[in-house]
């Protein structure tokens, strides 16, 4: 049994007086595909944003790939991480956003090559070769020279996935990556993610309201409510035989809202 690649240890996070996370602990194994589900406002996005260092924690510890994320060890003491340490840790993690966040002034391939060229000093030719492979994987090769504004939502999201993959992170975070898409565009993005899960051993954390997809995709499902893990288990256990009342209630509501489980 190998060590967890993510180890969250008693973290708390408040926005003003509102405590979103209160002493949360969880672990993720290397290569694991984890789905985070739960009602709106339960803190799912906040967890991903904390892992991507877009949000700081108030207390607790997070270990990523054997190293502290928000702390660094100096002469046996734990100090608050500086920007250099954070930059080093960010190399291990990539994120795909609900609203794509593409760079509108750069064409598709430049969106993908920019970060490898700037942060890894990759030569343009090598960066473009890799970008074309990734665009091929997400089915966007023929749009390499298009501007983001010329793409559909599904296409934008596939480019955003390729852009995050270009830095070869060990961990990928997906925050409701299909919820801003028209229903008929959802599948093209989910198919890319299925392919990714099948072809790589990346660790993937997925926040989603697509219960059907979470069921097929995930090795393990965490059900969150009010910043706490209420229930966790294999997809079949959570979706077919939820033990907790709150999980049952949530799934019932989701099904009533027309989502497929």
């Amino acid at each position: 049994m190998s060590a967890p690649i993510i180890k969250i240890d008693g973290i708390s996070k408040s926005f003003g007086t509102f405590k979103v996370l209160d002493g949360l602990s969880m672990q993720v194994m290397p290569g694991e595909k984890l789905a985070l589900i739960g009602p709106s406002g339960s803190g799912k996005t906040t967890i991903l944003r904390i892992l991507m260092t877009l949000e700081r924690i108030d207390s607790g510890h997070i270990q990523v790939d054997g190293e502290q994320l928000y702390h660094m060890e100096r002469n046996g003491r734990l100090l608050t991480a500086d920007e250099r340490h954070l930059a080093k840790m960010r190399q291990k993690i990539g994120m795909v956003f609900q609203l794509f966040n593409l760079f509108p002034h750069k064409c598709v391939i430049d969106n993908v090559t920019l970060a490898p060229m700037l942060t890894k000093a990759m030569p343009r030719a090598a960066a473009e070769k890799r970008a074309m492979e990734l665009l091929d994987m997400v089915g966007m090769v023929d749009k390499a020279k298009a501007m983001p504004a010329q793409l559909s939502g599904g296409q934008k999201q596939r480019v955003a996935i390729a852009r995050a993959l270009a830095l070869s992170p060990k961990i990928m975070l997906f925050d409701e990556v299909t919820s801003a898409l028209d229903p008929e565009l959802v599948d093209e993005v989910l198919n890319v993610m299925r392919k990714l899960a099948a072809e790589t051993d990346m660790t993937m954390l997925l926040v989603t309201h697509e219960m059907g997809f979470a069921h097929d995709f995930a090795d393990r499902v965490l059900f969150f409510d009010r910043g706490r893990i209420v229930e966790e288990g294999k997809p079949d256990e959570i979706f077919r035989h939820p033990k907790q009342e709150r999980t049952q209630g949530f799934l019932k509501k989701i099904i009533a809202a027309g989502h497929r489980v």
Partner: protein
Amino acid sequence: MTQWSGYFGLILQGALVTIELTLMGSVLALIMAFLAGLGRLSRFFVLRALATAYIEFFRGTSIFVQLFWAYFVLPFAGISLTPLQAGVLALGLNVGAYAAEVVRGAIKSIGREQYEACTALNLGRWQAMRHIILPQALLVMLPTFGNNAIELLKATAVVSLISLADLTFQAQVVRSQTGNTLVPFSTILVIYFVLALLISWGVRSLERRMARGLDGVRV
């Protein structure tokens, strides 16, 4: 008739001086705008304070006084400037202070999600600014920069007060030599107007070029 063409020659010379002042003043204003605009957004208190002091001072005092300082007072500090240098300095610093606020506002108008994408892609602060934020902010700045440049063009007239032979100065020369006010001042009115139109047109075509592709129209 030949006498009038000589006077028009004077006015054309003045036009060249005005154009020179406008171009050089705009370059200085642009540099100051970015220095002070970025300074105001800096993490470092000292830079923010310096930038704010510069902006408030040059917006809060008149261009007229600034010009006289540059030309008549700086020599006491051992810095003697030619009228052209003093004019460029005063105009550039004055308009730069206004344009710095344009730079700051444009940068702040870029959405948080762009910064977050930069963080997720591990770009450094300056890399994100240089490659992602500034190029988008520039497009927001351009129209107002056009206005600033026209303001600068109009403000060049004050340099005639330190006897730099710009358009306005030459119009006065012609007036005092011919006793005619209508002709020289109508002429320079038209020339100022045409120069302002040229600036508008130049900025607008630059804007169109830079915006290409951003709106989803085929490039």
